[in-house]
Amino acid sequence: MSAGEPPLNAPEIRRLTPVLEPGHTYASVTDKIASIVLTRPVSLGWLAGFGLAFSLMMVLMISLAWLIIKGVGVWGINIPIGWGFAIVNFVWWIGIGHAGTLISAILYLLNQQWRTSINRFAEAMTLFAVACAGIFPLIHTGRPWMAYYMFPYPSTMGLWPQFRSPLIWDVFAVSTYGTVSLLFWFVGLVPDLATLRDRATTKPKQIIYGMLALGWRGSAHHWQRYQSAYLLLAGLATPLVLSVHSVISFDFSVSIVPGWHTTIFPPYFVAGAIYSGFAMVLTIAIPLRKAYDLQDFITMRHLENMAKVMLATGLIVAYGYFFEFFLAFYSGNKFDVFLATQRLHGPYAPYYYALILCNILTPQLLWFQKMRTNVAVLFVMSLVINTGMWLERFVIVVISLTRDFMPSAWGRYQPTFWDWSTFIGTLGLFVSLLFLFVRGLPAIAISEMRELVAHTSEDDA
C-alpha cells in the first residue's frame, strides 16, 4: 500500500469502508447468502448469460474435435515457432488461477479479514481457470492420445518419463495444484454445505447437500481439527502457489532460447500471475455483487484492497520487464541483446507496446484513491490488465521463437481461425462453470462470515 495513506486497520478507514456493512446478524448473513442458492428463482439474466457462455463452450468442443481430426497443423504454429496460442493460453489461465489460492491461503495466514467474503468464489475461479489451463498442455501435443506417456506407470516398454524436462514438472505442478486447490475449496465448503443441508426445503436438495456435507455437525471436536487442517492447508498452499508459476516459468527459463533463458522469470511470472488473478477476481466480483446485491459483503474496501494488490504486483511485473532488458544488455549476450531490440523494433513491436500500455501505464491510475474506489474504472482496468497479461505471454512465447539463433531459420507466426476459436472456447467453459457455481453453491463462505459477524460485534461492543 502506498505512502500517505493510513494503515488498513486505522479506525477512520474502517468507518469509511468496513469489511462488512453494519447491522448483520448470524442469521441475516446466512439467509442472504444461502437464499441465492436455495430460494432465489433462476433469473432471465442468468439464463441469457449461461446460454451465451455455454454456446461458446460448444465452440471449444468443435475446435477440439477438428483439432483431433486434422492435427495441430490447423493452428498457426510452424518451425521455428513450435508453440503458439496453446501455450500462451495455458500460461495465461494458470496465472489467473493463482489469485484464488493466494487470497485464501496467504491472506488467511496474514489474518486479513477482508479476504473472507471473496475467497470462496476466488477459489472456485481458480479451479475453473486451472481446468481451462489443463486442457492446453494435453491438446497442444501432436498425439494427445499418447499423452499418458508423460505419467510414470510401469509400461511394457520399461520406459519412464524424462524427469529433467520442465514439461514433466508441469504435469506434476499443475495436477498437484489442481488437487490441493480442490481440497482447500471443498474443506472450506463443508460447513456451508451443512448449512444448506439444514436449510434445504426439498428432499433432493437435502440429500445432495447432505451427502456433500459428509455429516458435518459443527461440534467443537470437528472445528478444532478442521481449523488445524485448514491452517495447514493454507500453509502448504502458499509455497505451492508460488512454486506452480515458477515451474511454469521454468518451461521457458530452463530452455536456451533467447528471451526465455533468463533467471528473472520465476519471480516475475508469479507476480504476473497474482496480477492477472486479482484482475480476474475483480472482473467477476464487480458484476457478481451487483447482480446479487452483495455490496454489503463485498464492500468498496475489498475492491480497493484488490486494486492496491494489483498496483503492487503490476509494479513488480514492470520491474521484471525492465530487468529483462537490463539482463540482456548487462550480460552482453548478443542473442539476448538482439531479441531485446527485436521487441522494440521487430515486426511484433506493436504487441510489445500494447503490452506496456496495458500492464504498466494504465494501472498507474490506481495510485489515486478516486480511481481505486470507482467501480466502473476498476472493472475496465481489470479487463485491460487481463488483456495485457495475455499479450505478455504472447510476447514471451511467440516473439522469442520467431528469431533465435539461426537467421536462416527465422520465421513468423500468425494465428488461424482455430487458434482463436479454441481460446474463446475456453473463455466459454470458464464462464459457464462460474454461472453454475453461483447457482449451486454459496458464493461467499457463510461460516466465515458468521465468524466475521462475531468479531465485528465484539469490536462494536
Binding site: G73, I79, I81, G142, R143, F338, P347, R403, S408
Partner: protein, 1049 residues
C-alpha cells in the same frame, strides 16, 4: 552388387497381354481375351457399342474398371496382382507400417520361386545409367525385393564418379509417379499394344509406298547407340523420311561454336582437375550440362585444403545471373548475357588473337587481371563458354584455349556423343515448315514436349493439327499428347533395356530393375514397330546392336555382357580425342553491340529444379529449394536489386510463415516478342543490372497432379529469333502480389559465428580464423560435474562439412528425402514454414551489412550496393548431433536421447509431439508432422519407400539421424565378421550424393578416419560454439583464392 545374373529373370517376361488376360479370366468367368480380340479390330466408336453389348454381363462393371486407367482398381491390374503381392508381402509387412492396438491376423506371402541371388531384407545394387541430354549418368540403384528404392552414383562411371545430382536422385519418384501415362491410347481411348502394332504396320505400309516422303521423326538429343542405329535403319527403310531433333534447353551454341572453330560438329570435354585457373564465360559448369558432376569433383579436388600451405585453383566467373558455379567462384563478375560475348572478344584481343574489342564498361580491370592470370598458367588454365551463349563465344573459348596451350591438357575434342548432331533450332523450324506445308502425314515423336517447349513463334500446336497421324512416345500424357492420335506410354529407364553414351563417349547398358509398372514400352519397341523387325524385345535390340557394333561380336557380347552390366559401362567405348586446331580468328568476327545500358535484357535459363519442364511433376524437385533463390514450387522473373529499385518492384514478408515461408512479391506483366507472360518478380542479389531471368520449365498446362499450373510459362515469350537472350520487351507492374514459397529469405548472418570464410592469404596468415570470435566453453564447464559419465569409447560418429567444397547444388537434400521416406508437403505448407527436409542448404551473403529488420533484399528500404555482387556461401545443415543436446533435456518422454556412439536418437513411436525439442534446438534442424503429410494410400509410393526407415505419421517430430539405418546395417555386417567398422564403409545418403565431396562422415575416435583428419584441421569449427552444445557435425571454413590484383568491390 552382383545381381545381373537374373537380368532376364527380373524383367522381360510376365508382361505380355496373355498374362494379364489369364488373370482376369481366372478371376471372372467372362472370357476377357475374347472380348479384347473383339475390341481390337474395332475403331473407337464401335468400341463403345461393343461395350454396350457387353453391358448385360454381370461382370461388366469390373471389366470396365480394369479397362480404364483412371479407375481406382486400375493399378492392381497394370502390375498384375501377383507381382504386387510378391513385392508388398515380403517387404512391406516387415517394414512395420501397420497401426497399433491389438495385432490382428496378418498374412505372409513368400515367393513361389525366389529369384536367385535375392535374400529377403538384403538390398541388391544394380548398375545402370540415366540418359540425360547429351550425357548419361552412371548409377547404382538399390533394390529391395525387386523394388528400386534409392539411387546412388556409380564410382566406376566417368560422368558420375560415385556422385549424383538432384535429377538422378529424384528419378526414382518419377518411376513410381501415379500420374504417369499407363497404357497405349488412341484418341484418348485405351488400346492394346497389339492394336498399336497393327496400326503401326498400317502406317508403315503407307509410308513405304511414298518412300517415307511424309514420314517425319522428332526426337530430343539421343546418345543411345542402339536407338541411333535403329533410327538410321528406319531412315534407310524410308529414304525420304526425315529425322528432326529439338531439345529446348540444349546447346546449339556449343554445336555451332565447334563448327565455327573446327569446321565440323565436335564434342568438347574438359578436365578442370588439371587447370589452375578456370574462367567461366556464363557457363554453369558445375550446375548443369554434360559431365557437370565429374567436373565438380575434379575442380573441388583441386581445392582440398589440408593445411595453410596447401594450394588451390582459382575460378573466375562472368555471368548474368547467379549460378552454383558463380557462387563457388573466387572472383565473380556480373555481366549481362550480351556483354559476356564482348568480354570474350576483348579477352581474345588482349591475348593477341586478333580483333580489337574492348572490355565492357567497368570490367577492364577485371579483364586485365584475368588475362594475366590465364597467361601465367598456359597449359594449366581453362576457359569454358556457357551452353546458353552463342556460337561465337564458344568459338572464342576454343581459340583462347588453343592459344593458351590448354587443348589436350585441360580440354579436348571428341567425335559428337549424340547421334546425328544438327542445329536443333533449324531442325524444328524446318519440321514446322513441312508440317505447315502439309508435307507431313506421319509424325513419330520420341519424348520431348514440343507443343509446350518449342519456340513460341513456330506455333507448333496449330501445325501439328495439320499432320494426319501423329504418334507420341512419352512417359506422361502431356500438352503435346493431347494433339496426337496415338500415345504410347514410355517406360522409365529403370523399367526398360537400352544403352547410352556419357559426355566423353563412354557407353553403358541401361538395365531395368523392375518389370514395367504399367503397360509401357520403350522408344526401341516403338521404332521397331515401324521397322521390319517388329516385336523384337528391347533386350534383344540392345544385344543385337552391340554384337554387330564396331569392335564387337556375338561372342564378345556374350562374354562381356555380365561385366558390362556389373561395371555399369562398356570398357573401351570412351571416345579418343580428335586433334582439331581451331581455324578461326577472332578478328573475323563481325563487331557486335551489347544491348544498350538501361534497356532490359531478358534471358532464359533452364530451372535448377524442374530443368526444361520434364521434371515438373516430381514433388521432390518441386519442393527442393532452388540453390540460389531458395524458392520452391514456383519460378519467378529474377531481377537485380538495382533494377528492382528502378522498376519500383518490392516484396515483403507475409506474417504467415515469414522469412522461412511466405514472401509476397510484386506481379509483373512481361511483354516480349509480341506476347505477354505474367510472372512474380524475385529480387536476386548478384544478378547483372538490367537483366531479367525467365526460368523455363514451369507453367505446365498438363503435367500431372503435382506439376500442372505451377509458376509461369516462360516458353510463351521465347521465340526462335531470341532463344536465350531477348531484348525490346517491357515490364509492367500489375499492382498485384503473389505469394512465393521461399525457405530462406533472410540472407544475413547478423554477425554470428555461423559460416566462416576467409581469403587464402588471410587463411595462411591466420589458419585459426574460423575459431576466433566464438568463445567455446571448456569441456567440464558445467553445473553438473557428471559429464565424465558419458565417455565415447567405441565408435564416435561425426560429420565434417567442408564449406570450401559445397557449391549448394542440393543433391544431398533430395538424396536424404529419398533415403529417409521424407514426405512432400506442398506449397501451402512450405509457405507456413513446415517443409520437412532433414538437411537444408543455407545460403548466406557474406559481405552484406546487417539487416536486423530481418528482411531480405526485397524491402531494404535503401538500395544497398553490396547486393550487386555479394559473396555467396552455402552451408548444408543436417542435425548437428550435439553431445550436450538441448533437445534431449526438454523431451518429457525421452523420445530423443543420446546413444553410446553419440547419435542423437529420435524414437518416433515414443514421441508425443510437444515440439519443445524443436523450440530448444538452436540449429532448427528438427521437422514436425503438423498434419498427416505422408501419403498412406497410393500403392506406388508404398513400393518406393525405404523399408529400413520408419514411415512417420502425423504429430511426430523427426530429424536427421546420420542415416542410422545405414550405420546399423554396417555395424551388423562388421560385427558378424568380428571386425571394427572400416572408414568409409558407412556412408550417409547426403555424403554419397555430394558431387563436391563436401560431406564426410565417420568415426571420430579413429585418428586415421577421413573425418578425424578434417576435424583436426584448424579450419574446423562448430556453429555457435559458445552455446556449448558440442555438435558432432562440424564445418570447415570456406577459403577463397583471391587474385591480389583484384581487391573486392
Amino acid at each position: 552388387m552382383d545381381g545381373m545374373s537374373e537380368d532376364g529373370h527380373l524383367h522381360d517376361d510376365n508382361h505380355d497381354e496373355a498374362h494379364a488376360d489369364d488373370l482376369t479370366t481366372q478371376a471372372y468367368p467372362l472370357d476377357l481375351a475374347a472380348v479384347r480380340r473383339k475390341l481390337q479390330d474395332k475403331s473407337g466408336k464401335q468400341y463403345w457399342r461393343t461395350l454396350e453389348e457387353l453391358a448385360e454381363d454381370p461382370h461388366f462393371e469390373d471389366l470396365l474398371h480394369r479397362e480404364f486407367p483412371r479407375q481406382a482398381s486400375e493399378w492392381d491390374e497394370s502390375v498384375d496382382r501377383r507381382d504386387f503381392l510378391k513385392l508388398m508381402g515380403a517387404s512391406l509387412a516387415l517394414a512395420g507400417m501397420a497401426g497399433c492396438g491389438r495385432p490382428d491376423v496378418e498374412k505372409i506371402v513368400p515367393y513361389v520361386k525366389q529369384p536367385d541371388g535375392m535374400v529377403l531384407g538384403k538390398p541388391l545394387f544394380f548398375a545402370t545409367v540415366m540418359p540425360f541430354g547429351a550425357d548419361a549418368l552412371g548409377l547404382l540403384v538399390e533394390s529391395h525385393e525387386g523394388r528400386p528404392t534409392k539411387i546412388e552414383g556409380n564410382p566406376d562411371h566417368p560422368s558420375s564418379m560415385g556422385s549424383t545430382d538432384v535429377f538422378a536422385q529424384a528419378a526414382v519418384l518419377n518411376l513410381y509417379d501415379p500420374d504417369r501415362a499407363q497404357t497405349v491410347t488412341n484418341l484418348g481411348e485405351i488400346q492394346s499394344w497389339s492394336s498399336f502394332l497393327q496400326a503401326a504396320q498400317g502406317f508403315a505400309a503407307g509410308a513405304k509406298a511414298t518412300n517415307g516422303a511424309g514420314f517425319r521423326l522428332l526426337t530430343g538429343t539421343i546418345t543411345s547407340p542402339t536407338l541411333i542405329k535403329q533410327i538410321q535403319d528406319l531412315l534407310k527403310l524410308y529414304p525420304q523420311a526425315k529425322w528432326h531433333q529439338w531439345e529446348p534447353a540444349g546447346s546449339d551454341g556449343a554445336r555451332e561454336g565447334a563448327k565455327l572453330a573446327f569446321g565440323r560438329y565436335l564434342n568438347t570435354v574438359y578436365a578442370p582437375g588439371k587447370a589452375d585457373v578456370v574462367l567461366s564465360l556464363d557457363s554453369d559448369l558445375f550446375g548443369a550440362g554434360p559431365g557437370h558432376i565429374r567436373y565438380t569433383k575434379e575442380f573441388t579436388r583441386r581445392r582440398k585444403l589440408t593445411g595453410p600451405d596447401s594450394t588451390m585453383n582459382r575460378l573466375y566467373v562472368v555471368e548474368p545471373t547467379p549460378s552454383v558455379t558463380g557462387a563457388t567462384a573466387d572472383h565473380r563478375l556480373p555481366l549481362r548475357a550480351s556483354e559476356v560475348g564482348i568480354f570474350a572478344r576483348a579477352l581474345a584481343a588482349k591475348l593477341g588473337l586478333g580483333g580489337n574489342a574492348s572490355a565492357p564498361a567497368g570490367s577492364e580491370k577485371w579483364l586485365e587481371a584475368v588475362a594475366k592470370d590465364l597467361q601465367q598458367h598456359r597449359g594449366a588454365s581453362l576457359v569454358v563458354a556457357g551452353e546458353q551463349q552463342p556460337a561465337e563465344v564458344h568459338a572464342l573459348a576454343h581459340a583462347i584455349n588453343a592459344a593458351l596451350g590448354n587443348t589436350g591438357a585441360t580440354v579436348y575434342q571428341t567425335e559428337p556423343v549424340e547421334g546425328n548432331p544438327v542445329n536443333h533450332l533449324d531442325s524444328i523450324r524446318e519440321l514446322c515448315g513441312d508440317m505447315d506445308a502439309g508435307k507431313v502425314d506421319l509424325l513419330l515423336m520420341l519424348g520431348g514436349n514440343p507443343i509446350y517447349d518449342a519456340p513460341h513463334d513456330l506455333d507448333f500446336k496449330s501445325k501439328l493439327k495439320k499432320v494426319r497421324n501423329a504418334i507420341r512416345v512419352s512417359p506422361y500424357f502431356d500438352e503435346t499428347s493431347e494433339y496426337c492420335q496415338w500415345h504410347v506410354a514410355e517406360s522409365h529407364f529403370l523399367e526398360s533395356w537400352s544403352d547410352a553414351r556419357a559426355f566423353d563417349g563412354t557407353a553403358s547398358i541401361v538395365q531395368p530393375l523392375i518389370a514395367p509398372l504399367y503397360r509401357t514400352h520403350s522408344a526401341h519397341d516403338v521404332v521397331a514397330a515401324f521397322s521390319d523387325k517388329q516385336g523384337v524385345s528391347g533386350y534383344d535390340v540392345v544385344r543385337n546392336y552391340w554384337s554387330s557394333a564396331p569392335g564387337h561380336s556375338m561372342a564378345s557380347v556374350d562374354q562381356g555382357w555380365k561385366k558390362w552390366l556389373n561395371d555399369g559401362l562398356i570398357e573401351g567405348t570412351k571416345f579418343a580425342p580428335v586433334s582439331a586446331a581451331p581455324k578461326f580468328s577472332a578478328a573475323s568476327l563481325a563487331p557486335v553491340q551489347a544491348t544498350p545500358a538501361g534497356q532490359i535484357e531478358f534471358i532464359f535459363r533452364p530451372d535448377p529444379a524442374v530443368f526444361d519442364g520434364r521434371f515438373a511433376n516430381n514433388g521432390w524437385l518441386q519442393e527442393l529449394p532452388k540453390p540460389v533463390t531458395k524458392l520452391t514450387w514456383d519460378n519467378a522473373a529474377l531481377v537485380s536489386p538495382k533494377t528492382a529499385e528502378k522498376l519500383g518492384l518490392t516484396q515483403h514478408v507475409a506474417s504467415r510463415g515469414g522469412e522461412h515461408g511466405q514472401i509476397l512479391s510484386n506481379v509483373i506483366d512481361v511483354w516480349l516478342s509480341g506476347s505477354k507472360v505474367t510472372a512474380a518478380a524475385w529480387i536476386l542479389p548478384g544478378q547483372a543490372e538490367d537483366t531479367v531471368v525467365l526460368p523455363l520449365g514451369y507453367g505446365r498446362k498438363r503435367a500431372g497432379y503435382t506439376g500442372t499450373n505451377k509458376g509461369f510459362d516462360a516458353y510463351a515469350v521465347r521465340v526462335s529469333s531470341a532463344l536465350w537472350t531477348a531484348t525490346g520487351g517491357e515490364i509492367k507492374k500489375t499492382g498485384a502480389n503473389y505469394p512465393l514459397a521461399c525457405t530462406q529469405y533472410h540472407f544475413n548472418m547478423e554477425g554470428r559465428q555461423i559460416l566462416s570464410s576467409a581469403s587464402l592469404e588471410e587463411y595462411r596468415k591466420n589458419p585459426n580464423f574460423a575459431n576466433e570470435g566464438a568463445e567455446a566453453p571448456a569441456p567440464g564447464l558445467s553445473l553438473y560435474k557428471g559429464e565424465a559419465e558419458f565417455p565415447y569409447h567405441g565408435n564416435k560418429w561425426a560429420m565434417a562439412i567442408d564449406l570450401n567444397h559445397c557449391n549448394g547444388c542440393s543433391a544431398c537434400v533430395v538424396a536424404c528425402q529419398s533415403e529417409n521416406n521424407i514426405p512432400v508437403v506442398g506449397k501451402d505448407q512450405v509457405m507456413r514454414g513446415r517443409e520437412m527436409h532433414w538437411i537444408r542448404v543455407d545460403r548466406y551473403y557474406a559481405n552484406t551489412p546487417s539487416a536486423t529488420s530481418g528482411t531480405g533484399p526485397g524491402d531494404t528500404t535503401k538500395y544497398d550496393v553490396s547486393l550487386d555482387n555479394p559473396d555467396t556461401f552455402f552451408q548444408p545443415v543436417p542435425c548437428q548431433q550435439c553431445e550436450n543436446a538441448p533437445c534431449e533435456q526438454v523431451c518429457p518422454v525421452a523420445a530423443t536421447v543420446h546413444s553410446a556412439e553419440g547419435l542423437n536418437d529420435m524414437v518416433y513411436n515414443r514421441c508425443i509431439g510437444t515440439r519443445y525439442c524443436s523450440n530448444n534446438c538452436p540449429y532448427k534442424v528438427r521437422r514436425f508432422n503438423f498434419l498427416r503429410f505422408q501419403d498412406w494410400e497410393t500403392p506406388q509410393l508404398k513400393l518406393m519407400r525405404n523399408p529400413e526407415v520408419t514411415v512417420r505419421s502425423r504429430g511426430v517430430m523427426e530429424k536427421c539421424t546420420y542415416c542410422v539405418q545405414r550405420i546399423t546395417a554396417g555395424r551388423i555386417e562388421a560385427e558378424k565378421q568380428n571386425r571394427p567398422i572400416k572408414d568409409g564403409e558407412i556412408v550417409t545418403a547426403c555424403e554419397a550424393a555430394c558431387p563436391s565431396e563436401a560431406i564426410v562422415f565417420g568415426n571420430a575416435n579413429d585418428p586415421n578416419s577421413r573425418v578425424s583428419k578434417l576435424r583436426a584441421q584448424q579450419r574446423n569449427y562448430s556453429i555457435l560454439a559458445e552455446l556449448n552444445a558440442r555438435p558432432r557435425t562440424t564445418y570447415l571454413a570456406a577459403v577463397r583464392n583471391l587474385n591480389p590484383e583484384l581487391e573486392k568491390a
